[in-house]
């Protein structure tokens, strides 16, 4: 589960940023701080995930269109592809 919105305490201190992954440990920590409800991102279907990943990889191709000849950029591109696959799946 990932947070749809950042969580703040009563003093306005940000406890968890939007997009953070909720774990058992972080849920317990939030409860100890008096946070009993948070907004989580709605689950995404596999079909939608596939479409998001395809769009994301196509955008990466576009972003790197002038620089794939450079070895450092190819390595960066490959790491970004891996990152998108890990974060979207």
């Amino acid at each position: 589960m990932t947070l749809a919105q950042a969580v703040f305490d009563d003093a306005g201190v940000c406890l968890m940023a939007s997009g953070s992954v909720l774990t058992d440990k972080s849920i317990q920590a939030l409860k100890k701080r008096g946070i009993h409800a948070v907004q989580i991102a709605a689950p995404v279907s596999d079909k939608k995930k596939d479409a998001m990943l395809a769009a994301s990889l196509a955008r990466l191709d576009e972003l790197f269109m002038h620089s794939k000849d450079s070895l450092p950029n190819r390595k960066l591109f490959e790491s970004l592809c891996l990152y998108r696959r890990e974060t979207i799946s």
């Binding site: 950042a6 003093a11 306005g12 201190v13 940000c14 968890m16 940023a17 939007s18 997009g19 953070s20 955008r59 990466l60 576009e62 972003l63 790197f64 269109m65 002038h66 620089s67 000849d69 450079s70 070895l71 450092p72 950029n73 390595k75 960066l76 591109f77 790491s79 970004l80 891996l82 990152y83 890990e86 974060t87």
Partner: protein, 283 residues
Amino acid sequence: MSGLTEQDIAGAVLRLPALPNIVLELIHALDDKDVDTHTLAQKISYDQTLTAKVLRLANSSFYGMQSKIGSIPHAITVLGFNSVRSLVLAAAMVDTFADHASGDLDHANFWKHAIGTALCAKVIAAHRGANQDQSFIAGLLHNIGRLVLATCSPQRYRDVLQRCAQRNEDLLTAEIHVFGIDHKTAGKAVLEYWKFPAAIVGTLSSGQDESPAQGDSAAIAAVADAIAYALDLSGGQYDRVPSITTADWDRLALKESVLLEIFAITETQFEEACAILGATGNV
């Protein structure tokens, strides 16, 4: 089309909005180890809008503080003067240029990319054991020369953007074709005019021989710039990832696992930082 002269660039720099006095004082203090932080903290506090933004940043997930920071002197005690200075510079720069007209250059897009580069540079610097605050400032100002060129001639900058769009030309090539110089050269002129220390001005010379004092800073700014584009943080239609030199890449030697961590931290902090600094498309 004739290239820009030094006088043209100097004229454009003068037409940029004036930075607030407190910002100029903070820039001049970058090289000063005996800086009077107490007086500077008081001066920052006089600007309520700036103070409010800096405190929101200090209390954001960017620092992950456990208790609320309520004043500039408190922020300096907890975060250190250098961190507070980089937050003040970021908030003031975005504010100062918010209403500055410069042709077709999309200001929200420009500052979103600058903030993304600054955040990424800070994360890379932390990994490399380099100066995080200096890297943050260098990342923020890495593309400031684009503002100079767009101010110098809005029509010619429009031509640059059209070349990028219609001919799929990369930005630096299009700038050199239209202006005779690229935004890095123009950026150096403005940073020197504002009297930034050589260590920050020198970050616009990546891929060249760096002095030992310069350390990793130019390579960090260049790689952070490329990562910010690669993460598509500003989302500009014609954004493209610039080529990273082998010298810069090899110097930082970032392993894939480290890169994945850098991507994740930068993305996590980005939206919150943009929202606080007002670089969300409604600037």
